[in-house]
């Protein structure tokens, strides 16, 4: 069974442990600015919302890539950026309707969540289980994926 990141904003305290874990795993230092998961703060509402790639079925980023640099890892289900192949054209960054593929000016490549190859550091670091890595069929994921359908430019007729 494939697993996926499930996010429960109700449990988030905004501590940014996930952002630190992500940046450390991927960039080698503690740098929330370079994290692939972001916690958004809604101050007046008193709410924190962690947010990252849902590895959506539509895979807009993968489809938009002109050089085949984004591929699905069939073990984890993650769309992964191959840094060697990525030319840095950024088409995926505008094609991803969730805003979760971003351009890294320092490397000239794009970055996105790759589920850390199957052991996502953010979920491990989260102290409140706001971010968990669970069976893909678990509740919550469907809701997140439902966002994707709102962006589909196609409409099935059957």
């Amino acid at each position: 069974m494939q697993r996926s990141l499930t996010i429960d904003p109700e449990k988030c305290t905004g501590c940014l442990q996930c952002e630190m874990a992500c940046s450390f795993e991927n960039e080698g230092n503690f740098n929330p600015a370079k994290s692939r998961i972001k916690v958004f703060t809604f101050h007046e509402e008193g709410r924190f919302v962690p947010y990252t790639c849902t590895q959506c079925d539509e895979a807009w980023c993968m489809q938009a890539c002109p050089v085949d640099a984004i591929k699905m890892n069939f073990t984890t289900g993650a769309m992964e950026v191959n840094e060697q192949t990525c030319v840095g054209c950024k088409v995926c960054t505008i094609a991803c309707p969730f805003g979760t593929v971003n351009y890294n000016v320092d490397t000239g490549k794009v970055v996105k969540c790759d589920l850390c190859g199957g052991d996502p550091a953010c979920a491990t670091a989260c102290p409140t289980q706001a971010i968990t890595y669970v069976d893909a069929s678990a509740t919550g994921l469907d809701k997140m994926r439902a966002w994707a359908s709102k962006t589909d430019n196609a409409q099935a007729t059957t």
Partner: protein
Amino acid sequence: MKHLIIGAGPAGVVAAETLRKLDENASITILGDEPEPPYSRMAIPYLLIDNIDEQGTYLRKDQDYFKRQNIDVVVGRAESLDPVNKTVKVAEGDSLPYDKLLVATGSRPIKPPVPGIDHEKVTSCWTLEDARKITSGIQQGTPVVLIGAGFIGCIILEALVSAGADLTVVEMGNRMVPRMLDEKCGSMLEAWCQNKGVNVMTSTTVTAIEPKGDGVLVKTSDGNEVEAELVISAAGVKPNADFLEGSDVKLVDGGIEIDEFMQSSMDGVYAAGDVAYGRDFSTGEFGIQAIQPTAVDHARLAANNMHKHGSIRHRGSVLMNVLDTMGLISASYGQWEGVEGGDSAELLDENNFRYIQLQFDQDRLVGANTLGMTQHVGVLRGLIQGKFHLGHWKQKLMNNPLLLMEAYLAATQAS
């Protein structure tokens, strides 16, 4: 079932792949008119700066990929269509039969009507062959004139400058990239380029190109004359549909008119990508978008309908573009020029070359321009295409357009 796809660009390849997924047994042939394996023009700028080799531009990296997918890739140029016998005549070759035909021939550069444009020192920047010609023609200090500061012109600026070109850009619009960026954005981009030593002349046209010594003399509408050893013409593109002229396939503005199932006026003939006169998501109107994400959208939908006509309806593609001009990144979405009666919001930081402009129709986002932004830009697509009612978040965005992600999360996660 025989599927024939004319064009080996992203639309052609994605359509072929989609067809293969839908039908293991179908015969699928891609006909392309360049000798290289299918490659991406989007990657050419990165080839020019040596970030990648030619192989790095290939749409699919694995040498045997198409063979393994059982997709025939044939080199040759389509010359004409025989709808009665359902064949396509290939220049200097046989005719290829089809049951369903996809025209994904893309576009080609426009040659501006300037005396001397056919001089051997003038080249376009469109194919790998052009790229080879440009790289070999520029050394340190080579005077180069670029005609057109559109998308293509801008995206190769860095390559030209880093190769050593002493560069002059002549753009007839009043700003750079006028078809993608608003006045502020285009003007800031111009200032950026000037700062980097590029001579940018806007509201100017090239009136003549005359031989001079080993090079040419480029004359402009403001009475200037610029010597150049190389002239790159990047004055726009037009659809590659000439071979259909005189056929029953209806063309509009040179593109192939398609319906919501991506089919042309002729049964069994579909079109996708730059050549297709397709539906725009924002306006509902038809036109030519000529951008990578749209080409891929079209291809996917066309393939589905070629496999089973009527299976998926095209609701239109969102116009979107991203451009890296010597390190300054700009993007545009949808109705970035605004809509009548709609509100707009902007945030401008001229010193740091940062800008964002949002266009609203009532409380929905319909378009945007950004400059100098690299984080979460895609969410603009999500907001536009999701047609989310922003409610009180519209006012928050009016106050600070950078709260895009927050607005998106508020719109989508409201429980």
